[in-house]
């Protein structure tokens, strides 16, 4: 199934992972490099980088180059789309149509 991903859905998916959520919360308080994040948590630097990629794509964090290092921080108002009160319905329908698609896969083909 293909769905045109919208920003708030990307945010939900990005923050559904507890480790990613923890990284994000850290970055709301401090500007940190990949190494600094990895040192503070029980995960590897490559894993941190991967999580930061997902968070960046959801426009929740951004990086600032300084010399050879990049420092990440949370984007101000990055969660704003979630405060839109239609948002739960957007997530609801997205989830429900995924379930619809699963059901359709299981159903027999219709007679033309």
């Amino acid at each position: 199934m293909n769905q045109h991903m919208n920003e708030p859905t990307a945010i939900f998916r990005a923050l559904a992972d507890p480790t990613r959520r923890a990284i994000f919360e850290r970055l709301t308080r401090d500007e940190l490099s990949v190494k600094q994040i990895a040192d503070a948590m029980p995960i590897s630097q490559p894993a941190v980088s991967q999580h930061l990629n997902v968070l960046s794509e959801a426009q929740l964090v951004s990086g600032r180059r300084q010399g050879r290092q990049t420092f990440y921080s949370a984007v101000p108002h990055g969660l704003q789309p979630l405060i839109d009160w239609m948002e739960p319905y957007r997530a609801f329908w997205t989830e429900r149509v995924e379930a619809l698609n699963d059901l359709l896969d299981q159903m027999e083909e219709e007679e033309p």
Partner: protein
């Protein structure tokens, strides 16, 4: 007058419109992908039906619906009401080379404070537990 807002989503389904139509109109199938459909369901214009989700404080979890438009294989429109929200849901099927394009729109959201409290809260309730837990955590963390 407060403005109303419309939610619009678009999906590509690799299944025929005939099959999709069955899945969105038959009670047993609806109950599997959307929400449990209570007894008394009739696919008929103006016929009311009720969907059931988890109750929360102050709400029994029942979504009051009523068919507004039924165009077989093309469009299904129904009213969707919970306390604080009165909306119209439209499911539109368009045949494509890969199967069916499904457009889901929900209109009638109005950004008044009263509706925001009731409707949004119950809206959260219809999402999966996983996403709800996430949002509870974000709330406590006081994220920006």
């Amino acid at each position: 007058m407060s403005e109303t807002q419309t939610l619009s989503l678009e999906f590509e389904l690799k299944h025929s419109p005939q099959k999709v139509w069955r899945a969105i109109t038959e009670r047993e199938l609806l109950s599997q992908w959307l929400l449990p459909v209570l007894e008394g369901y009739r696919l008929e214009r103006d016929a009311p039906f009720t969907l059931k989700t988890e109750p929360v404080q102050g709400w029994d979890g029942e979504v009051s619906c009523r068919f507004l438009e039924i165009a077989p294989m093309r469009e299904l429109r129904f009213a969707w009401e919970v306390p604080g929200i009165s909306t119209t849901v439209t499911l539109t099927l368009t045949p494509t080379s890969y199967g069916t394009r499904l457009d889901v729109t929900q209109s009638g959201f109005a950004p008044t404070q009263k509706r925001e409290f009731g409707g949004a809260r119950y809206g959260w309730n219809m999402m999966s537990e996983r996403l709800q837990a996430l949002l509870d955590t974000l709330d406590e963390g006081g994220a920006p």
